[in-house]
Symmetry: C2
C-alpha cells in the first residue's frame, strides 16, 4: 500500500501562517501563547520556517461567501469571549471589531481570526484551560 | 468547570475559507472533492456560510517568514505529488508553479495551498485514498 500502484493518499497536514519578516518573532510569541504550545527555539536569522507543534482536531471546514478579500482565517471557540479576547490581546493580537456575537482580531502580521462562542458538541473537550490572572 | 469561574477554555474550532461570491459554488465543489467530504446541500442564494464537514487532525502549525503578503495557507501531503496535483486540478484548482519539491496551487477563489511530500510520521494514517482513474 505504498501508494505507488493502485492510487495514492493525501490529507491536509499543515496550517501554515505566513508572517511578515519584521514581525516574525512577535508572531512566534503570539501563536505559541494563543495555542498554549511550548515555545520553540529562537529561530536562526536565515531560518524561514518554525514548527510550533501540532494541534488536535477535529476542525470544522467552512466556506464563507465574501465580496472581496478571499483568504483563510481561523475561528477560536471559547466559553468566555471577553476573557479570551483579553488573553489574546495580551499575547500580542490586535482587537479589530465586534460583529454580532463574535470578535475579529488580527495577529502581529495582520492575519485575521475570530473569537466565537463554543460551537463544537464536545466543547471544551480537548480545549486549553486558561486561568484568568488579570483580576 | 463551566468556565464561568476559575478561568475559561479555548481552542481552534474552524478553518474558514473565504471565497469570492461569484466562485462560491465552484469553491464548494472544489473543497468537497479536495478533502473527500460529502457534498453539502446546494446553498440558498442568501446563504453566507457552508459547513463542509470536519477534518481529523492533528495538524502541524508552522510559521513561515515572508517579505510581503502575510496570510494563511494549507499544505496537503501526498505520496504521489503528480497524481495529487492532477486530481486537485481536475477538481477545480489552478496549478501555479513548482518550488523545489512541492507544488503551489490555488483554489477557485485564488486561495493558495501547497502539495508536498509526506511529512507526518504516521502517514498515510487517516489520509484519504484516491484511485488514479485518469489512465
Amino acid at each position: 500500500m505504498g501508494g505507488k500502484a493502485g492510487g495514492h493518499h493525501s490529507r491536509i497536514s499543515t496550517l501554515m501562517i505566513d508572517c511578515l519578516a519584521d514581525r516574525f518573532e512577535d508572531s512566534i510569541g503570539f501563536w505559541t501563547r494563543a495555542l498554549g504550545l511550548r515555545p520553540p527555539r529562537r529561530p536562526a536569522k536565515n531560518q524561514r520556517y518554525v514548527t510550533l507543534g501540532r494541534i488536535e482536531g477535529p476542525l470544522f471546514v467552512r466556506l464563507q461567501k465574501v465580496e472581496r478579500d478571499p483568504g483563510y482565517h481561523l475561528d477560536i471557540e471559547s466559553d468566555r469571549l471577553d476573557a479570551e479576547v483579553e488573553r489574546l490581546e495580551s499575547a500580542g493580537a490586535r482587537r479589530k471589531y465586534r460583529i454580532k456575537r463574535w470578535w475579529v482580531l488580527e495577529d502581529p502580521s495582520g492575519n485575521p481570526f475570530c473569537v466565537i462562542r463554543p460551537e463544537s458538541d464536545d466543547f471544551p473537550g480537548n480545549a486549553s484551560h486558561w486561568e484568568d490572572t488579570s483580576r
